[in-house]
């Protein structure tokens, strides 16, 4: 439970996921923001107008999954690094998970890394597809990982393998 160990419950996670049908249509953002805190940069960052305007700054983000194109602009603006993009259409067996990352060393494209779940446990091997690090991201790097499809809603972090 988030309030006790920092890990959201399965119900909490499910409550913010896009409908299965939307996942078949390509990349989409998932805001794993489960607490009413005073924060709204995600709304301002979205050029698609896919994040509903906040009436009260303490509201949680509501993503219109039909408007969201999974561009990931919101990911590097979120102070909580709590937004991820999942593309279930990446390949037959793999999904793409985009992860905000603020650690060194950065992985290289093609590198195999250890994919990690919300609890900090290794759950799969993942291949690095892209490392986005533009000026506008302001040092919050976005790493695209290809992960086994069944792990796409589990993988939320990764570890570079020690021997490179």
């Amino acid at each position: 439970m988030l309030s006790q160990n920092g890990i959201p419950t399965a119900e909490e996670v499910t409550s913010v996921l896009p409908p299965a049908e939307r996942l078949t249509k390509g990349p989409v953002a998932i805001a794993e923001c489960f607490q009413n805190i005073p924060c709204d940069p995600c709304y301002h960052s979205c050029k698609q107008g896919a994040i509903q305007e906040f009436n009260d700054i303490n509201e949680r983000p509501q993503i219109n999954f039909d408007k969201c194109n999974g561009c990931g602009s919101c990911m590097s603006r979120c102070p909580g690094l709590a937004i991820f993009v999942v593309d279930a259409t990446y390949s037959d067996n793999e999904a793409l998970v985009k992860i905000p990352y603020e650690f060194l060393p950065l992985p290289e494209v093609g590198e195999i890394v250890t994919a990690i779940n919300r609890g900090g446990q290794a759950v799969a091997e993942a291949k690095v597809i892209k490392v986005q690090n533009t000026k506008v991201q302001d040092r919050t790097v976005i790493v695209w990982l290809a992960v086994p499809k069944e792990q796409m809603m589990e993988v939320r972090h990764f570890r570079v393998k020690e021997v490179r």
Binding site: I7, N36, I37, P38, P41, N58, G80, G119, G120
Partner: protein, 358 residues
Amino acid sequence: MRQIEIAIVGGGPAGLAAALNASKLGAQVILIDRNDYLGGQLIKQTHRFFGSKQQRASERGIDIALELANEVMANEKIEVLTEATALGHYEDGVLLVEQAGKIMAIKPERFIVATGGAEKTLLFPNNDLPGVYGAGAVQTLVNVFGVKPGKRVLMVGAGNIGVIVSYQLLQAGVEVAAIIEGAPRIGAYWVHAAKVVRAGVPIYTRHTILRAEGEGEVKGAVIAQLDDNWQPIPGTEREIEADVICLSVGLTPLTELLWQAGCQMTFVPELGGNVPFRNEQLETSVPGLYVAGDVSGIEEASAAMMEGALAGINAAASLGYTSDTLTADRQNVLDQLAGLRSGPVGEKIRKGLAQCSL
């Protein structure tokens, strides 16, 4: 004796915002800080801030510090005194300041105290051993000077500071063994907690530190689980290997100048300790003396900036300075502060403020 319209003590987020807003209305300001730089504790905040766009949400504290400090330094209406310590405030309203071994007397028409807060400690055997630090101390060492405090850290306290500093220790390549928290719930924003947990740091709520271990320096710690009455449960003790113990158990306002000035004070646990009574415009019981930021109650830096803006506007306005947008500007700041404090995470602050409002 120096005469000045407004003197501000403290060049952190609150003091900088106060100086900028007061000078914008036309007031002459002296800003006094004991450090040799401006920005206060913002200079070590490498994370992105929460809040709204107007409160510079999503920007990193380090960048906000630099920008505000540059703006203040370039402002002709603000005289900046760094490496200057405010020694005392006297009955006749005179402020004594020491700078480079010289004492100067300043008589301000309005006085804004923005001295911030200090880290609290925790009682346990060996809490004085080298290797036991305030979490903010380690944050300074790592993020300002690029020096590691040790190899493996036990963080005590899962509030925002404890969790954020743990994350920043990981970024610096320091291992964090665990974060322990006496309360049954994580006090930090859960998104911060989620970040460190997925990076491999466990958070143990309802746990406390029983003692630090080590001869001469910290070598480890013994922690234990707490029952619902905050008593350690026998048999749950376990040893944690760590050469650093970080205490993140809250801050307390640095109120010496307020006591000297004769402000009416009251103890408010929700705000971190003794705080001054103040009205909605941040004026204390001493007419012309305003407070802003952590000295008036421990809160986030975004709130400190907003309070600084409010105190700066009000101090200048009380001297007769005005602008076409004065009323609207003041209301805008008040609305933003109310917004920051209106949600469930602002409950503690609201409860605290209710106990010290004039």
